[in-house]
Subunit: 138 residues, 4 copies
């Protein structure tokens, strides 16, 4: 666990007022937490660019009635089991499933898996979300 | 279930060759599926802009040792239970958790919940992923 | 002209160290300027969402040999002259032109013009860049 | 100049109907041009990732009254003159200028210049727009 450091920043008055309105709209109760979030978002982007081990999620929407789609998606996931931590399956309606795959590994390995799943016929939508292992983001 | 329609498109030869390389790199086995994915991505973006009922995921990374953070996050989720379908919790390491919340509702309601969770002190990273209910994306 | 306000924020030591590396890589000489930039980027995004008068640029790349393309692009620009401030034309090579159109107006009007230009046959690439009039961003 | 190739793609009827509405809203008069634009956007993204020579624009908004800002921005631009093709300067109002710098070079060189300009004190907003030289995008 590391320690808090306090330092001062200077901001133009009208810029600060606009910022205070913005963060209050978003539910922040203090400026430090809002600024920490802006900083962390930049650092997570950097983790993905620099090839560090990252975490993320892959979200799929598909119609489970598509012939052999379930089997194909399961096959792909097993071929990439080393980057997959867990999968959650939601039944949106009679036809549509949403599946969230939590992943951890290098950005390249994760992006390759996401591309394979997206390219699978019958997958209606697929999105890769960049997150972090949190290790370097105290 | 609706029917397939086949139509022709014309593409410059060199543009088509570049496209074929691109989609082969991404694991597509035919052009139709690759073009369908580009089209669906545009339609999902439109669903979120036009305020239709959409699905999505909110990914959080946080240190579960942060005092009362678990309780606060659970409170917020219960206050928005009408848009939350399910939550999955992953133990990344001794300190860090990754939580994926699957949501369904209007973009406004979902964005409000995502903002509240992101603004919560102790949440290191938070990302909202736009997906779809799949209803209009055959 | 408005006045500078100085206030304190607290950051975890390791988070601050990562941030200092990040901003030094980007050429910042002090934390205040880096944080001001993060804040202003959020405010510009908000200006575009809330429908305020904004500024921006539309970048086009096209082959000026395409039959009647120049005339069509000029026609479209004249039909939207109220949002166009100026246009700069670059000859990239014998075939390719890059044109930058500086625009000011409501986000809706600007997005409509950008869509029209992008949809014009022969335009190879088109991008809309969100900027600001700077009026509320001291 | 290369030749046009025509090929067929198959789309679900309701997906095609949604796509036709979308592209008609955006001012397209035929599906081929709309699909070509989706394809080209992907190819431009790939050019920037793979380090090819690309073109782009850097948009700056700043207050020209800021002490020595003009001189500093000119210095930085001259230090990177090898990637800068041309600069256009717009007087938005008494205080605010918008400057568009058209650039051509490797993505790394362009991103470095954009970072330097953004980090300069007094620059209120800065955005890098990815475009293309058009050479490989017939």
């Amino acid at each position: 666990m590391s320690s808090l450091i306090r330092f001062g920043i200077s901001l133009d008055k009208t810029l600060l007022e606009s910022f205070d309105v913005l963060i209050s709209d978003r539910g922040y109760t203090n400026r430090s937490e809002a600024l920490r979030d802006l900083i962390r978002d930049e650092l997570v982007r950097k983790e993905w660019l620099s090839g560090d081990i990252v975490a993320g999620t892959i979200t799929l929407v598909y119609d489970h009635h598509t012939r052999e789609l379930n089997a194909r998606l399961t096959d792909i996931q097993h071929n990439h089991h080393n980057v997959i931590i867990a999968t959650q399956h939601i039944h949106l309606d009679h036809h549509n499933c949403l599946e969230v795959i939590v992943v951890q590994g290098t950005p390249q390995d994760i992006e390759k898996l996401a591309a394979r799943l997206k390219a699978t016929r019958g997958v209606k939508h697929s999105a890769l979300t960049m997150a972090t292992t949190g290790k370097n983001l105290l």
